[in-house]
């Protein structure tokens, strides 16, 4: 038996994650994402290859099930296309929060498609709804029997609300597909958590294959220190962020700090943020970190004490304050964060934080790339940037240490890396092979890897054989008991005995272990003994004389 792995996306690349694994004849598709920097059909995985590989005529027959790990577009974006356009009608699994967040994400992406006027590969809003109707929600550690042989189970992965790692097993062959995960917890999400499983294959993401990050605590401290300095100097802090996730984390951090410092300085949330966070986080409290779960009954941690709604008129208010605003990258085209930025950037007392990633062309990107003090908005207007800039470095992906830790913890027989850049993956592959001694692959898109899988054979042993082993053992023990009244303990760990026997595999019969005696009987033969007569050569003696 073997596991066949066809990488349709995210092979030596980040984007359109999609892996089809064939385990003992069952095909499972993990993730079904789009590539955010491509357009049209090319942004989707090449689904036709599945048919080519399986020889089936339609996807429903070829694929046993589709499992989506989390709600980011590069993991879920192509799903409506696959089900509604390509016509897959089999089961689709994802976790509850992913199912809840998916419509919003997919609808956002559909708007982009419409904006960019894709010629092909579009799907409609109805497609999204129809697709999500077919989804079967999963809970953590819930074992689902997809069909007679195939079993899947989800484990907590951190990363984003509802992210999961998927364990799949057919017969004795087992594998784990991680999706994106985070091994270090943050303020609102826990760390990835999985049992020690016996695996033939682990498919893991490798976004930060070479980076080792220092403690998140240090980053928190730097952030707080920057905010503290600015606010105590009477300045205003602008924190442009995307809607769900990071905003909640930073807000919890600040709220906590405010509480300890006993400050009354206002923290503002621009309108859209609170509504989204409250609906999703209050609903899905079970998927957040331990601390939140612990305190949830006493106080919903997403009801921030020091946070207020921001109103447009507050922009010119005097005195220090902190403001969270969307969108994250401060784009030229508009958005609330840009509006505030225009007003606050010219004062050197103020502080602007930048998220870890800013798209090229955005103001955030310009601020990040260098000390640009003058930003041209259009021909006539420009902004003099004199405020301080602080770069946030909180990432929801695990670093290379975390990847290695997970691989080591699971100790699979084989490792496949996906979702990363080729040179970095090559580096990590070397490490995995040299340090952990596991064969490691990082196939490119549309390549497939085949690895051998475990098959356990049931076998029985004859009574004779067991008795003989047992009695040998007893004798041995008795002998030892007499010996070790004194001191020598060293061999206590090593006195495991090998049993000697003959493995008999007959056609159409169960495998058996026998004693040598029995073999003679089974084969119906007589025992022969071979004797050697030593021959002493007399010639050597003669030569000596």
């Amino acid at each position: 038996m073997s596991i066949e792995c066809l990488v349709l996306g995210a092979g030596q690349d980040v984007g359109k994650s999609c892996v089809v694994a064939t385990i003992g004849g069952r095909r499972v598709m993990f993730d079904c994402g789009v590539h955010l920097f491509c357009r049209g059909r090319s942004s989707y995985p090449e689904f036709d290859r599945i048919l080519a590989a399986s020889g089936a005529t339609d996807f429903t027959a070829a694929i046993s099930c589709v499992v989506i790990t989390h709600s980011h577009l590069d993991h879920i974006g192509a799903l409506p296309y696959f089900t509604e356009v390509c016509g897959y009608h089999g089961p689709i699994y994802m976790t509850y929060p992913t199912k809840a967040l998916a419509p919003m994400m997919l609808e956002d992406y559909r708007k982009v498609m419409v904006d960019q006027q894709w010629e092909e590969g579009q799907y409609s809003y109805e497609d999204i709804l129809r697709c999500l109707k077919k989804v079967i929600p999963l809970d953590l550690k819930q074992t689902i029997q997809v069909d007679k042989d195939l079993v899947i189970r989800a484990y907590y992965a951190g990363h984003v609300l509802g992210a999961a790692m998927i364990y799949a097993k057919v017969g004795d062959a087992a594998m784990v597909y991680t999706g994106d995960y985070n091994m270090t917890p943050d303020r609102h999400l826990g760390a990835a958590q999985i049992d020690r499983l016996k695996l033939d294959l682990l498919i893991t993401e490798s976004t930060y294959a070479k980076t080792t990050r220092d403690s998140r605590r240090a980053r928190e401290r730097e952030f707080l220190q920057a905010v503290h300095k600015c606010v105590s100097g009477g300045g205003k802090v602008l924190i442009p962020l995307f809607a769900v996730g990071r905003a909640q984390e930073l807000c919890m951090l600040l709220d906590d700090y405010w509480e300890r410092m006993n400050w009354k300085i206002p923290i503002y949330f621009s309108a859209g943020l609170t509504i989204q966070s409250n609906t999703y986080y209050k609903m899905l409290i079970g998927w957040t970190s331990q601390k939140i779960k612990d305190n949830y009954r006493a106080h919903n941690p997403f009801d921030f004490k020091h946070v207020r709604h921001f109103e447009r008129s507050f922009i010119n208010n005097p005195g220090p304050c902190v403001l969270f605003a969307t969108p994250g990258m401060i784009s030229n085209s508009g958005g609330f964060s840009f509006e505030v930025f225009k007003k606050w950037a010219p004062s050197e007392k103020n502080l602007v934080t930048l998220p870890g990633y800013c798209g090229p062309g955005s103001i955030g990107h310009k601020l990040m790339s260098g000390k640009s003090t003058r930003i041209e908005v259009d021909k006539d207007t420009h902004i003099d940037v004199r405020c301080q800039i602080h770069q946030l470095a909180f990432s929801p992906h695990t670093d290379s240490k975390g990847i290695m830790d997970l691989i080591e913890f699971l100790s699979p027989k084989h490792v496949i890396l996906v979702h990363g850049e080729k040179p970095l993956m090559a580096f990590l592959k070397e490490r995995v092979e040299s340090e952990l001694g596991m064969p490691c692959y990082y196939p490119a898109n549309n390549e497939s890897v085949s690895i051998p899988a475990t098959k356990n054979l049931k076998m029985s042993a004859t009574e004779r054989f067991i008795t003989s082993c047992a009695s040998e053992q007893t004798e041995d023990n008795l002998r030892k008991q007499k010996l070790i009244c004194g001191s020598n303990m060293s061999e206590a760990n090593t006195d495991r005995k090998l049993a000697e026997g003959i493995l008999l595999m007959e056609k159409n019969k169960a495998v058996k272990i026998l004693c040598e005696d029995e073999l003679v009987q089974v084969l119906g033969m007589e025992r022969h003994l071979v004797q050697n007569e030593p021959m002493v050569s007399s010639r050597t003696g003669a030569a000596g004389e």
């Binding site: 906590d256 410092m261 331990q290 067991i466 008795t467 047992a470 001191s487 000697e500």
Partner: protein, 879 residues
């Protein structure tokens, strides 16, 4: 070659068939000697055939189930049936058997047997049984002493077994593994103490193994692993530093993966320790973070370089969202500060000073305590700390202990506070009347900081504090004395301030002089005392290492005092000895166990030394020998009692300590000789006995016979009457060197507490004149063994009654025994009332006693075990 059915020749080996075929017939007879704790051999076989499957495949398990195998065997009756029907109940009970074994460890004569069977069980297929077996091993290990050689083998065996199960699929097993490995590490460390082998490799290996367990997915395992890491000792610097940084540090020492010629398993080749604490402090569960913080602080005492980096991590923890974690972090920092490993840097100040104005009073308090101990390298940092304390004081005026902290900060940074004082003096001078209001917390605080400077440690610098500060401080007397703590009398403080402030002295002159003197006397001890008391107050239970540090410095002072005696400065030597003893007493009160026993032993020792010093002075002053009970006689008797107490009231004196006591006994007897001026037979025989004992102790070369004893032995051998001894007494005594050892092993103090039920001077017990009366006592005895002979010493005026104490019926373990008993007082005086004085005494068995048995009473060589107790009696007619 020939084909035959029968083997012809014994010389020739046939196929190894015979060994398998011949045995089964023998088995039934061999069945019986299987001990209850012994694992039946069956599961082992199954283990070999079917390695445990994580998925718990039902088919596999059922086929491997020994009971099933046995059942199938029963279907085929035959000679083997009997063999099989027996072990099956055994197997099903296995978890319980392991637990039983663990519980009955104490009584087992052969721990090796137990370990062997538990190790075999640990290899079983059922995870609960495996975990239970590991717990059993831990129990055996805890009971087994490290001293004996077979104990050592057990540790190795347990460790090996634990390492094998480190990657077990079951969380419970892994948890038990961590506990066992942690325990093994402690045993290894303890053994290395004995061996004095600096073989840290194994400790490094264990540290790495525990580190890899600290990345486990199970929270409980992580908590346990971090706890165990904190208890590690003798870990090399490289590994410690690696544990703080996720990035692998490439050094030559790190590549040492070959331990004792045995290659590490491949899993451990990657530095598992990398950044383990960085992971620990950002864990999702606060329990893990707390454990990680504690361990971070605990390990700091082994390496200053590590401590510096650990501080960075701990400082980051101040932003934690759980209060428990923050408090624990502060506790860890405090721990580091008490060991002197906390060097605050400028980058930490922002975070740390924030804590001083934290909304939580507990946090503020803990942060302040640390600040009182820490060393700030820069004036700027010092000033900002002071400013922050002042701000905190203004915010929370009820927290008066801030003054105390200000004082100790000032004291720790003498030159900085002198600087503050200079500025303050200028401020005071330039301020016109009424502008500088002393009520303002800032000025109060600054004055306290300023006057703390003269108490600072950097004496080499001349710190002149303007006298105007002292005169202002007078009005803050209450605050100042509060800041100084209770040990300084307010009057003497006032006169000191007046004196320093250049005021006309208002009190009697002597007070000020006394304070000046006591200040100089204090200098010796304050250094030690101040630090200890600060920490003692805060922690109550003193850390062993810390205590030993201060004990060592006290003993150095004592040795200095002894040499001072040589220069005839007896008075000062006495004062120093007294203060040192007081210091030790403070420490002893706060310690327990063998270290407490050692401290009280040292107190006794210092007492004896002081007596020797005093006696020697008397003898030197007055060489004419007088008759009758003179002061030297009293001192000598006291000295003898003191020596006897040291000899008899401590169980488990090790060789070094015993030599120390014996030399003191030798000295005491020598002084006795010189006092009497002639040699009595008893004294001489005592001397002989002591010298023999000393020689016996030093026979194996573990300690050396000192010059002093060797000299006495020489003179004694030359002249058996001892006249030469008396002649040479001066030179001999000069040879005596004070070499107090600090190695005390498992010392135990023997003591007793005697209480009388329901009796005091207000509520006396009634009696009828002339008739016996029963007195009921509650008695608690510490570290008394059955071969000690205890008596109750009861005295009414001159008449004494001894009653033998039979404590065999007392309840309690080896350490404490207690019970109550009614003791008859045989005769009562013909009086209206009387007071009975009772105490517990113990007979000394040993050569020094003259062994003259009195009638029914104890031998004359006794030591008092408990304090004397007064029992009040009143005649029935008087009530």
């Amino acid at each position: 070659m020939s084909n035959t059915k029968q083997p012809i020749s014994n010389r020739l080996r046939s196929l190894p068939v015979a060994s398998g075929g011949g045995l089964p017939s023998k088995t039934p007879t061999r069945r019986s000697p299987l001990p209850a704790g012994e694992a039946p051999p069956l599961p082992l076989l199954h283990q070999a055939l079917h390695p445990p499957n994580p998925m718990g495949d039902p088919h596999l398990l059922s086929s491997a189930h020994p009971a099933a195998a046995a059942a199938s065997a029963r279907k085929h009756p035959g000679p083997i049936d009997e063999r099989f029907s027996d072990p099956s109940p055994h197997i099903t009970k296995r978890p319980r058997v392991a637990a039983d074994a663990a519980a009955t460890v104490g009584s087992a004569p052969y721990p090796e047997e137990e370990v062997r069977s538990l190790v075999i069980m640990a290899g079983g297929i059922y995870p609960l049984a495996r975990a239970e077996a590991l717990r059993g091993l831990a129990a055996v290990l805890e009971k087994a002493g490290t001293g004996c050689c077979d104990g050592a083998g057990i540790v190795e065996c347990c460790y090996g077994c634990a390492v094998e199960l480190m990657r077990d699929e079951d969380e419970g097993v892994r948890l038990a593994v961590v506990r066992l490995v942690g325990l093994c590490a402690q045993k290894f460390a303890a053994r290395m103490d004995v061996d004095a082998k600096s073989d840290g490799d194994i400790m490094d290996l264990i540290f790495q193994q525990l580190s890899s367990m600290a990345r486990d997915m199970c929270t409980k395992v992580r908590i346990e692993a971090f706890g165990a890491l904190g208890k590690m000792q003798r870990v090399s610097d490289g590994v410690l530093l690696q544990s703080l940084s996720k990035k692998v540090i490439k050094t030559d020492t790190m590549s040492g993966t070959i331990i004792k010629g045995q290659k590490l398993p491949p899993k451990l080749k990657i530095p598992c320790a990398a950044g383990i604490f960085a992971h620990g402090i950002e864990d999702e569960f606060y329990q893990v973070r707390t454990a990680a913080c504690t361990s971070l602080g605990a390990l700091a005492k082994f390496s200053s370089q590590y401590a510096e980096k650990a501080l960075d991590l701990l400082m980051d923890m101040m932003n934690d969202d759980t209060e428990t974690v923050r408090l624990q972090t502060l506790q860890a920092l405090f721990h580091m500060a008490t060991y002197g490993y906390l060097s605050m840097q400028e980058k930490h100040m922002h975070m740390f000073l924030g804590l001083l104005v934290d909304a939580n009073a507990l946090i503020r308090n803990a942060a302040r305590k640390i600040l009182g101990l820490v060393n700030l390298p820069k004036l700027q940092m010092f000033k900002s700390a002071i400013d922050c304390l002042i701000a905190s004081l203004e915010k929370n005026p009820e927290e008066q202990d801030i003054y105390g902290i200000l004082f100790s900060i000032g004291k720790n940074h003498g030159s900085f506070s002198a600087n503050i004082a200079k500025h303050l003096a200028k401020e005071i001078a330039t301020a016109s009347d009424g502008e500088l209001i002393l009520d303002r917390p800032r000025v109060k605080a600054l004055i306290i900081v300023s006057i703390s400077a003269p108490f600072s440690d950097d004496k080499h610098k001349k710190l002149d504090i303007p006298s105007i500060i002292f005169s202002h401080a007078i009005s803050l007397l209450g605050k100042v004395s509060c800041a100084l703590g209770e040990e300084v009398n307010q009057d003497s403080l006032l006169s000191y301030l007046c004196h320093k402030g250049g005021m006309p002295l208002w009190g009697n002159r002597s007070v000020s002089v006394e304070f000046g003197e006591s200040e100089s006397c204090k200098v010796e001890t304050v250094e030690v005392g101040e630090q200890i008391e600060n920490t003692a107050k805060a922690t109550k239970c003193l850390d062993r290492v810390l205590v030993m540090q201060s004990v060592e410095s006290i003993l150095q002072t004592v040795e200095g005092a002894w040499t001072m005696r040589m220069s005839c400065d007896v008075c000062e030597a006495r004062t120093i000895l007294r203060t040192c003893k007081e210091e030790l007493k403070v420490l002893a009160e706060n310690s327990s166990g063998s270290i407490g026993a050692f401290l009280s032993f040292l107190c006794e020792y210092l007492d004896a030394i002081r007596l020797v010093v005093e006696l020697w002075q008397l003898i030197q002053l007055d060489n004419s020998y007088t008759v009758g009970l003179t002061a030297p006689d009293i001192l000598l008797e006291k000295l003898n009692i003191s020596v006897r107490r040291m000899e008899c009231c401590y169980a488990g004196l090790n060789r070094g300590l015993e030599v120390q006591v014996m030399e003191l006994a030798l000295l005491a007897n020598l002084l006795g000789l010189s006092n009497i001026g002639a040699c009595s037979k008893a004294v001489l025989s005592k001397l002989v006995w002591i010298i023999n004992r000393l020689e016996g102790l030093c026979a194996d070369g573990s300690c050396e016979l000192s010059d002093f004893s060797r000299e006495i032995k020489k003179t004694f051998e030359a002249d058996h009457i001892g006249s030469a001894l008396i002649r040479n007494i001066h030179t001999s005594v000069e040879l005596f060197r004070l070499k107090p050892t600090t190695d005390f092993g498992a010392l135990k103090a023997i003591s007793g507490v005697l209480q009388v039920c329901d009796n005091n001077s207000e509520n006396p017990q009634s009696y009828i004149c002339g008739l016996p009366v029963g007195v009921s006592f509650n008695i608690s005895l510490w570290n008394i063994s059955s071969n000690h002979r205890l008596w109750l010493h009861m005295s009414i005026g001159e008449s004494v009654q001894h009653t033998f104490l039979d404590f065999s019926s007392f309840e309690g373990d080896g350490e404490v025994k207690s019970g109550s008993m009614v003791v008859p007082l045989n005769t009562t005086p013909m009086a209206h009332s009387f007071v009975l004085r009772v105490c517990l005494i113990m007979e000394c068995y040993g050569g020094i006693s003259s062994n003259q048995e009195r009638h029914g009473g104890p031998s004359d060589c006794v030591v008092q075990l408990s304090d004397e107790l007064d029992v009040y009696f009143v005649s029935t007619g008087q009530r």
